[in-house]
């Protein structure tokens, strides 16, 4: 299995690893049975993603795609974040091996879940 240099870079030096204790929204997708699970935490300020962090259990592609997703999301408006697709993440990484496209490239979904979580909480508040 050959990964692109960009995938390997994000795997070796993942950006924005960690949790945000008082996150405004959290999104978790996947499950450990499948071998991939990721959580994305966001802080929102003026309808923009002010800070974002992640934790991932999974393969190299799972870690690299979550890292890239957090990079793409940072500073974006919530609407813009909702527009980020799995394909965008793969493209930014210089492509993924085909087998990894569906099983490990879930981070965009986790980001969307985090935004929805924030909006839900805000709606309730």
């Amino acid at each position: 299995m050959m990964y692109s240099e960009k995938v390997l870079d994000h795997f070796r030096n993942p950006r924005n690893v960690g949790e945000i204790e008082d996150a405004d929204g959290v999104g978790t997708v996947g499950n450990p049975v499948c071998g991939d699970m990721m959580s994305i935490y966001i802080k929102v300020k003026d309808d923009r993603i002010d800070d974002v962090k992640f934790k991932t259990f999974g393969c190299g592609a799972a870690i690299a795609t979550t890292s890239m997703t957090t990079e793409l999301a940072k500073g974006k408006t919530l609407d813009e974040a909702m527009e980020i697709t799995r394909q965008d993440v793969a493209d930014e990484l210089g492509g993924l091996p085909p087998v990894k496209m569906h099983c490990s490239n879930l981070a965009a979904d986790a980001l969307h879940e985090a935004v929805k979580d924030y909006r839900k909480k805000k709606g309730e508040a």
Binding site: M1, L8, R12, P14, P32, V33, G35, D36, G58, C59
Partner: protein
């Protein structure tokens, strides 16, 4: 530093084996079926290799059939025996932890109307002999149990398994691919058929053999000019076969010492890793295991990420994780032990070999804890106290 600990996947060809093979590419390139000196040369080399392989397992020369490798040998032995002796019965019994080739062959036999039964293993990977007794009946044509498992290292009670098969008039095949060259194996242990691989004893890839007990036959899976006693047609791969013969001779002479040396390294690798990494566990049998195999699982992280991190450090190993499998399923062997998917995902397989020294083991055990920690820090599953 670079260290290679994936000898179950591929082994280097022993330089002495390569030397022995060299004349048979461009000088003694004859076909052993031909009636002139080049043909005689090739035939002589083929006979010598057959003698060398037979000698390793206490067989007669005429009982060795050369093939293209362990997968072909398993196909030929299992399908060949089931078809040839179909009148004896239509049940075939294998274990749950056979090599994937045997597992998939058994599925093909099911499609062809055979009744396949899978004998379970205990949590240390030993095939349950009581269950095997239950599964083997008078309608059983063949029982196939591996001599040892290459992934978790567990050595199987094959003499007992052979006896169970024979008690019911069934034939017994053992896939000895992982075991041969690591422990003494003799056909007098009760084998009717046996699979051998060349690369697993430092011979070239693309060569293997099947032992076929005198008086038994296999239905050919390769139809042609009748080479290898009509069981496996096709002009013989003389350089490869010569290489396998030489490899068999060398491993026969050297395996005793080498097995002792590797077992010491294996135990150090296991002990030091389990000591240095919290929530790490040995897979397979604690003592009754191949001298070169250490299979260790690490909670909360996934194997492919481990492999990539170790590869960056020059360490080559393998994993039972779904993410490294073509099927996207975790290892069927680890699942058969009763491990959950998420436990199987975090396993590493170390298979040692000739090139490994104590410093290689130290290099691994010094670097592994940091790699595990880094991935655990990233994982949402890791309990806080471990970070």
């Amino acid at each position: 530093m670079k260290t290679y600990m994936d000898h179950a996947a591929a082994r280097p060809v022993d330089p002495r084996v390569l030397e022995a093979m060299k004349p048979y590419f461009s000088e003694s390139y004859g076909n052993p079926s031909s009636f002139y000196s080049k043909g005689f040369e090739a035939l002589k080399a083929l006979n010598e290799a057959r003698r060398q392989v037979a000698s390793l397992i206490g067989a007669q020369d005429s009982e060795i059939v050369f093939t293209s490798g362990a997968t072909e040998s398993n196909n030929l032995a299992i399908i060949g025996a089931a078809l040839r002796y179909r009148k004896r019965g239509t049940r075939v019994v294998i274990s749950e932890i056979e090599h994937i080739s045997v597992i998939n062959i058994s599925k093909e036999l099911t499609r062809q109307g055979y009744e396949v039964k899978n004998a379970p293993v205990d949590s240390e990977g030993v095939v349950d002999m009581e269950q095997l007794k239950e599964l083997v009946n008078d309608d059983t044509v063949l029982v196939s149990i591996m001599a040892a498992n290459g992934e978790i290292g567990t050595i199987q009670p094959i003499e007992q398994a052979a006896k169970i098969a024979h008690d019911h008039g069934a034939l017994f095949h053992t896939d000895a691919t992982a075991a041969v060259g690591q422990m003494p194996l003799d056909v007098s242990m009760g084998f009717d058929f046996m699979t051998l691989s060349s690369n697993d004893i430092y011979g070239p890839k693309g060569v293997g053999a099947v032992y076929v007990k005198k008086g038994l036959r296999l239905k050919s899976q390769m139809i042609g000019g009748g080479q290898e006693g009509g069981i496996r047609s096709g002009s013989e791969n003389i350089p490869g076969i010569v290489g396998m013969g030489k490899a068999a001779e060398l491993i026969g002479e050297e395996m005793g010492e080498e097995a002792k040396r590797l077992a010491v390294l294996r135990d150090k690798l296991i002990e030091d890793t389990l000591k240095a990494v919290p929530e790490s566990y040995l897979n397979g049998h604690p003592t009754n295991r191949l001298p070169n195999n250490a299979n260790i699982r690490f909670s909360y992280i996934e194997g492919e990420a481990l492999l990539l991190s170790l590869s960056d450090l020059g360490i080559s190993v393998s994993s039972g994780s779904a993410c490294v499998a073509k099927t996207l399923e975790p290892s069927h062997v680890l699942r058969a032990l009763g491990l959950k998917h998420e436990e199987a995902h975090g396993s590493l397989v170390f298979t040692l070999g000739k090139s490994n020294r104590e410093e290689d083991v130290e290099y691994v055990t010094q670097n592994l804890p940091g790699v595990v920690k880094k991935l655990r820090t990233m994982s949402p599953l890791t309990p806080k106290e471990l970070i």
